[in-house]
Structures are given as structure tokens and as C-alpha cells.
Amino acid sequence: MDLNMDLNAPHSMGTTIIGVTYNGGVVLGADSRTSTGMYVANRASDKITQLTDNVYVCRSGSAADSQLVSDYVRYFLHQHTIQLGQPATVKVAANLIRLISYNNKNMLETGLIVGGWDKYEGGKIYGIPLGGTLIEQPFAIGGSGSSYLYGFFDQAWKEGMTKDEAEQLVVKAVSLAIARDGASGGVVRTVVINSEGVTRNFYPGDKLQLWHEELEPQNSLLDILNSPSPEPMNI
């Protein structure tokens, strides 16, 4: 671990964010941990932010930078929607994010995943990492926790999933990343966007599946000590 990091090398950010397309729309997912150094400043943050009625963005990296970028884009999109007379497309929203990220690349430290549904293209996911590259993808992962998910998605991702399959995949993936990434944690939030509208979901930390070397939570050690011993076995 080199403490004198090369400041020009891309560096991962504290968070796990995911965006996945399915056969009717998109599912966005994120953890809820915001840290300042090693301290968890907010254990229940909301990293999935609304840009328009039909387009949301997952934020990672600097909390301040990502909030400012999304605030500006929300503002421009609002004006654009009025001028256009109909909902903005996901592509336009993603390009506005890209414009700001790219033109301020030396000052910003934020990776974003834009996801939404419009009547022309249906459900779409765009990844916009550090530097401001715009890349349309069937699914996107980002943040420091995503390092632990490349192998998982290589194996588990399939084209043409149903809404429930896609959401379960996202929840499982964020939960796996939380298990191994110290910078991710808390609850799993998902946002499902399709022609019918937007649904927000909330999966608290204690309701998630247990992984390797994780144990069933208890109220206290005293309960374990006071619980009756198992019956001797009869062979």
C-alpha cells in the first residue's frame, strides 16, 4: 500500500452503484454508506437521485461533486422539458451529465450511472466514469464496491430478464459488495423505472442474505449462553 499515491491515476470511490436493463425498463441500485475517512458519516444515505420523472442517476465518489453535477443537470433538464413539451429522453440526461463531467474533469471526482425509461428507446443505462466518458451499456457497475462484482456479473448477467429477476440480481450484487467493501454498507436501495412509472424499494441490512463466514444476527451473547443445549444424538 503506497501512501504517496499517484494523483493522476484513477482511484475508486467509496460506494457500490449498479444499473441494469431488463425487458421493460431499468433497475438502479446502491448501498447507503457515506464515509469521511474511516468514519461512517451517514449510514442511510440515498445515492439514487432524481433528475426527471423518468430519469434517475446513481452517484459515487465525492458527495459534494456528485450532488452539484446532478443539481445542475436537474435544472437544465427541467428547462429542456418545458421547451420540448414532453419528457426528456435518457440519452439527453446522460449527455448533460457527460458535458459537465468532461468539461470540469480536472476538478471533479465523481462517477455516475444514469438510468431511465423513455418512449423512444425504452429502458437505457449509461455509465459516466471519471473523466466524462459516456458509455451506453446493458448493465453498469461503479464505485469502490464494484471491484468485487466484475466476476459476479460476468457469470450472472443475462439479456432479457424480468423485472423481478433484475431487481433480485441488483440486491444480491450490492449485498455481496457490502460484504467485502469497507466503503460500502448499510441498506440496499433500488429504483425501478419503466413505462408505468417509478418504484422505490428499501432492503435493510438485516434482511439481506448471509454470505460466506457471516452469521445469523442475535440480540445478545446472553441469549446464546442461556439457550438450552441441543439434545444428545441417538445413532
Binding site: 500500500m1 501512501l3 467509496g14 447507503s32 454508506r33 457515506t34 464515509s35 474511516m38 468514519y39 461512517v40 451517514n42 449510514r43 442511510a44 444515505s45 440515498d46 445515492k47 437521485t49 432524481q50 458527495a63 450532488q67 446532478s70 443539481d71 436537474r74 469502490s144 468485487y148 460484504a179 467485502r180 467493501d181 469497507g182 466503503a183 454498507g185 448499510g186 441498506v187 422505490r200 428499501f202 435493510p204 441490512g205 438485516d206 460466506h212 463466514e213 457471516e214 452469521l215 445469523e216 444476527p217 442475535q218 440480540n219 445478545s220 451473547l221 446472553l222 446464546i224 449462553l225
Partner: protein, 245 residues
């Protein structure tokens, strides 16, 4: 073949260092240890995580060990250095037993030994990258002390390392009192460990609680704590302020 010869600048005051190695920064680390005195002895808690930077790499690391008959050592920081300390203490206890004189090293003596080791290593710019908690009881006398990687040492009714100092000690200052029962002590430690689980990035939800009394040392099986996430404020925190966190 020349493997990365260590370079000394001309004006170095560091002395010959051609063969020696030093821990410059930790690799696999353990987080907080929290301990308190209670009616019958000492209670100590630590999670079982070994982090590798920000990765929660190892989840079955025992960071508390019995030392001799009367002491319990908990460590945070570099795990390899902790293992080295256990080797030193093993030798210390072995020599103590070899005297076969009916006397055995108590927690105060072990703490003093550790303090000397840590401070001397610090003076040679080659620290053991740990914060240690040493607790025990001998002849009815309870003892609880701590040593840091630079040799700062003291004893108290409750101690903690790392984040535990910031998050657990304030709770203990409020709620600790003389002659805590075993149940109350465990509940108090669990309260501290739960806060650490919420607020320390390197904490994992798998811990052990160790107890040392005149009878001896026991360490609990690994277990997890329940956590609470169902505050209504957590469900939709940005409803009134879209774009905030």
C-alpha cells in the same frame, strides 16, 4: 541479482539499515478492541475482521488471546505484528514456567513487558504496528491496561483502541460503574460494538467476547449482532430535499 537495494540519502541519521526490515505501513489490520472491568474480572470484545486496506478480506481472525494463567491480550493494527508479539509472550511465559517456583507473571507484569517492547521498537523506528489491550486478574486484583505502537501506556477501568476511543469510551464513561454484573458488562460491550459496527468502516458483524476471572479465561463462540435500520427517516431521506444525501 539485486533485489531493490534500500537507498539511504546522504544526510540520513537512520544508521545502518542494509539488512533490517521495518513495518512502514500496515497491510492486514484489525480494528477496535473494547474492554472493561466488572465484578469478577475483565470483559473484552473484538470483532473477527482482518482488513486489507478497504477490503474486508478475512472474517475469522481471533484478535484476543490468553497469556499465561492470569492475562488476556487483545490487539488491533497489523495482524502479523500481533502474531509476533504472541511469540514473544510465549517465550516469556515459558521462561516464567521454567522457574517452577510457584509464582507466575500477572497482568501488571505482562503489561509492563509489552510496554518496554513497544517503546524500544518505536525508538528504533521499527514499530510493532499495534494497539494492545491487556487485562487480567490475580489474587483478586483486577488489572486493565493499554499500550500503543509508540509506547503510550496507561491503565483504567475501561479502555479501547482505535475508533473505540472515539465511539465506545464516551458510552462507557456514562454507563460504566463499579461491580458490574456479567450480564450488564456484556450488554454494555455489545452496545459499544453495535455503534462501532454502524460507524466504523472496517468493522464486521462477527465478534467474540472474552472473559477473564480468577477461575480462568473463556472466549465466546463467534456471533453477530442484530442491527436496526427501520427508522422512518431512513426509508425516504431525500423526499423533502431531492438531490441531497
Amino acid at each position: 541479482m539485486n533485489f531493490m537495494a534500500s537507498k539511504q540519502p546522504e544526510n540520513s541519521l537512520l544508521g545502518p539499515e542494509s539488512d533490517s526490515q521495518r513495518t512502514l505501513y500496515p497491510y492486514v489490520t484489525g480494528t477496535s478492541v473494547v474492554a472493561l472491568k466488572y465484578k469478577d474480572g475483565i470483559l473484552m470484545a473484538a470483532d473477527m475482521g482482518g482488513s486489507y486496506g478497504s477490503t474486508l478480506r478475512y472474517k475469522n481472525v481471533e484478535r484476543m488471546k490468553a497469556i499465561g494463567k492470569h492475562s488476556l491480550l487483545g490487539a488491533s493494527g497489523e495482524i502479523s505484528d500481533f502474531q509476533e508479539i504472541l511469540r514473544y509472550l510465549d517465550e516469556l511465559i515459558l521462561y516464567d514456567n521454567m522457574w517452577d517456583d510457584g509464582n507466575s507473571l500477572g497482568p501488571k507484569e505482562v503489561h509492563n513487558y509489552l510496554t518496554r517492547v513497544m517503546y524500544n521498537r518505536r525508538n528504533k523506528f521499527n514499530p510493532l504496528w499495534n494497539s494492545l489491550v491487556l487485562g487480567g486478574i490475580k489474587n483478586g486484583q483486577k488489572y486493565l491496561g493499554t499500550v500503543s505502537m509508540i509506547g503510550v501506556n496507561f491503565e483504567d477501568n475501561h479502555v479501547a483502541t482505535g475508533f473505540g476511543n472515539h465511539l465506545a469510551r464516551p458510552i462507557l464513561r456514562q454507563e460504566w460503574h463499579e461491580n458490574l454484573s456479567f450480564e450488564d458488562g456484556v450488554r454494555l460491550l455489545e452496545k459499544c460494538m453495535r455503534v462501532l459496527l454502524y460507524r466504523d468502516r472496517s468493522a464486521i458483524n462477527k465478534l467474540q467476547i472474552a472473559k477473564i476471572t480468577e477461575e480462568g479465561m473463556t472466549i465466546s463462540q463467534p456471533y453477530s449482532l442484530k442491527t436496526y435500520w427501520e427508522f422512518s427517516a431512513f426509508e425516504n431521506p431525500t423526499q423533502g430535499a431531492v438531490g441531497s444525501w
